[in-house]
């Protein structure tokens, strides 16, 4: 997307197209203020790319951009998962520890000689099970979403620590590693290749699947309707209870898939994997323009949000002057700014 837009904005001979684009974006924002954060996220992403290119160089090139996708495939999946939940006005704090449990269990089973397909299936199912448990607690026992998923977060982390407190290394010859293997698509000069991993393809499939479900199916419309007003959608006869459980099941399942993608790339699983990823996923979703209170949001925006966070990590590493400990503080700060921006936008709409 950025590659397409960049030359349009930079090139002087296409000024008319650029200004046309700007007026069009302006019109969209004016007619629907809730897209403003999404537009802001895209602008920020492009701005970060330009700043990075000017300040550190070697950002707009094949291998940096494909590495951005490869290294953040799991975060993109998590952001998609979180989008579903936040759209209904809920939250899932358990994603990070579900990944820890799922990947530790998966690596241990794979190393114990289990069939890799069964291991991958189990890793995903662990996520599904956690999501189902959260969903049932929230829908049928009226536990607040953050309490239920917080309990699941502690449970997942606890079970992962119970399995192992050591880093578990996936055997070198394990077929699961194939999902993290890099394939060259375009063989550029030196190492400047377009590379892709099966993990990235899985992430893209998840994104397209989520886009289809949210915008083209009845379930997707119900998800938005619940976020708008749960009681109204129940009165309209929408399947509120089923959909509410379903979003947590989707979120859990996608966390399991993210665990597979992440573990296959890194080859190591540990009980402390994924601490703070809830925050990254929430931040990616919120940066991408999904309202924390539910009802408004775009799954493609969340992907941009995840890429903004990924690019931020790249820039921090390139800069070298910022201690890596600052990353969580900066992520938290960005999340805060975007939440405040959302509040400003929504309060304007209400008055």
């Amino acid at each position: 997307m950025t590659i397409v837009q960049n030359p349009q904005i930079d090139a002087p001979d296409q000024e008319s197209t650029a200004s046309k684009l700007v007026t069009r974006v302006k019109r969209v924002v004016a007619s629907n203020p809730s897209v403003l954060p999404t537009v802001a996220a895209i602008v920020i992403f492009i701005g970060m790319v330009i700043y990075g290119e000017l300040a550190y160089g070697r950002i707009v090139q094949y291998n940096t951009l494909s590495n951005l996708l490869i290294n953040n495939a799991h975060l993109i999946i998590l952001a998609v998962a979180m989008t579903f939940v936040i759209l209904t006005g809920g939250i899932d704090l358990s994603v990070g520890s579900v990944i820890a449990l799922s990947s530790v269990a998966g690596v241990m089973l794979a190393n114990a000689g289990w069939n890799p397909w069964i291991v991958i299936l189990l890793m995903v199912l662990i996520g599904t099970l956690f999501g189902l448990a959260s969903g049932i607690l929230i829908q049928y026992f009226n536990v607040q979403p953050f309490i239920a998923t917080l309990a699941m977060m502690f449970l997942g982390r606890g079970l992962a620590s119970l399995l192992s407190t050591q880093p578990e290394r996936l055997a070198e010859e394990s077929p699961i590693r194939w999902l993290g293997e890099q394939f060259k698509i375009i063989d550029g000069p030196k190492v400047n290749d377009v590379v892709i991993t099966p993990g990235v393809i899985i992430a893209l499939l998840v994104v397209f699947g989520a886009f289809f479900v949210l915008h083209r199916t009845r379930t997707g419309r119900t998800v938005y309707a619940i976020g708008g007003s749960e009681s109204s959608s129940a009165l309209m006869g929408l399947a509120v209870p089923r959909t509410k459980v379903l979003v947590y099941v989707i979120s859990g399942t996608l966390s399991g898939i993210a665990a597979v993608v992440y573990t296959s790339r890194l080859g190591i699983a540990q009980n402390i994997t994924g601490i703070g990823w809830e925050l990254d996923a929430i931040a990616a979703t919120v940066i991408g323009g999904t309202l924390l209170t539910g009802g408004y949001g775009y799954v493609l925006g969340s992907v941009v949000g995840a890429l903004v966070l990924g690019l931020m990590n790249v820039l921090i590493t390139r800069d070298g002057g910022i201690p890596p400990e600052m990353t969580t503080i900066i992520t938290g700060g960005i999340l805060l700014i975007f939440v405040l921006l959302q509040r400003a936008v929504t309060s304007k709409r209400h008055t």
Partner: protein, 361 residues
């Protein structure tokens, strides 16, 4: 008649939300006594006259949990939650340790007081950020405190430059390891703070106002309560208490480990509150319940070590207990129990008691 009065008194006791917590503490202690009949024995150290024993250890370990549990129960009463207590503990410990390391002077009371003052000030500041975000900007409590939970650990790492920092200061160490009239200072300090907080919230209208916010913020504002200032105070108080807990927990070893100090203490705090019978939905709190919850958690931690069970199993177990207690608090499960209780109520002699029991259920 006296018999009836006694059963009434017993029923009152059982109805207390933290009754089962007390029973659980005694059950755990009994389990330990089964393994070692001398478990409860308390001896007097002949050299310095201090009491020594497993029970004393439990009391000492319960001090930081007491602090964060009391803070958390007030925050939960307002209908919020404070996920940042563990990280605030780490920040407070880091500030104190770095201050004392730079100041040197291992015997100075002034340095110890300075470290404590600075640590509590920084904690209060973090709490104030939480409070402003929740009370004045209107963020959901779990989002603002989640940001603080993860950013706080980053702040602690920045303060200590990512290293485990040690310092030597005898007065500071005394807080965590010293004894007064044979009892550990930390426990006495914790109980004193709990009593002060308890008196302030229960002997004034503050406690009622806090609960009113949790029940219905809009109605409480119409009744003349200013929720913003009160919310801010509650979040600051929770952070300051977490800061005290941080000082207590780094004081025992005089080292701050930025990734382990206060790690998952949110779990303990929430667990203590739920065990104390407080609903996580807000609108109610019980300081006594939080104390029982904190003591139970400390007993549980020590029991698990004593019985030789791997301590890595405790977080999972605690999480399951939270889930079960949440389930027990939900209306759906309660209605199941009420239905099961109904048949005996239909007997003629117990008919007058029926409405009362329904209220209790």
């Amino acid at each position: 008649m006296s018999n009836a009065a006694r059963t009434n008194w017993l029923r009152e006791l059982i109805r207390k939300p933290f009754f089962w917590g007390v029973i659980a503490i005694f059950a755990l202690l009994a389990l330990n006594v089964l393994k070692d009949p001398n478990y409860l024995a308390i001896t007097v150290n002949p050299v310095n006259g201090n009491l020594v024993g497993n029970v004393i250890d439990i009391l000492r370990a319960s001090a930081p949990i007491l602090m964060i549990a009391v803070g958390m129960s007030l925050v939960i009463a307002t209908g919020g939650i404070d996920l940042s207590v563990g990280s605030v503990m780490a920040v407070s410990g880091a500030v104190a340790m770095v201050f004392m390391k730079d100041a040197g002077q291992s015997g100075s009371v002034g340095v110890a007081l300075g470290a404590i003052g600075l640590a509590l000030l920084v904690s209060a500041l973090l709490g104030a950020i939480n409070g402003v975000l929740v009370a004045y900007i209107g963020l959901q409590p779990f989002i603002s405190t989640l940001i603080m939970m993860l950013a706080g650990r980053g702040i602690a790492k920045v303060i200590t430059e990512g290293q485990n920092t040690s310092a030597t200061n005898d007065p500071f160490r005394w807080i965590a390891n010293g004894f007064v009239i044979g009892l550990p200072v930390v426990f006495l300090l914790a109980i004193a703070i709990v009593i002060v907080v308890g008196l302030v919230v229960r002997r004034s209208a503050l406690g009622l106002m806090i609960e009113a916010i949790g029940i219905n913020p809009k109605a409480s504002r119409m009744a003349g309560i200013k929720p913003s200032g009160l919310l801010l105070t509650v979040y600051i108080l929770s952070a300051v208490l977490a800061g005290v807990a941080g000082i207590m927990s780094v004081g025992t070893v005089m080292t701050v480990d930025v990734s382990r100090t206060g790690y998952q203490m949110e779990l303990d705090a929430i667990l203590a509150v739920v065990i104390g019978g407080t609903s996580l939905a807000g609108g109610k709190f019980s300081i006594g319940g939080a104390v029982v919850g904190a003591l139970l958690i400390a007993t549980l931690d020590k029991t698990i070590v004593f019985l030789g069970i791997s301590s890595s199993a405790t977080p999972a177990f605690k999480a399951i207990v939270i889930v079960v207690l949440c389930l027990l608090q939900s209306d759906r499960v309660r209605s199941w129990f009420v239905q099961r209780r109904k048949p005996p109520q239909l007997r003629p002699e117990s008919l007058p008691a029926k409405p009362k029991q329904e209220v209790a259920a």
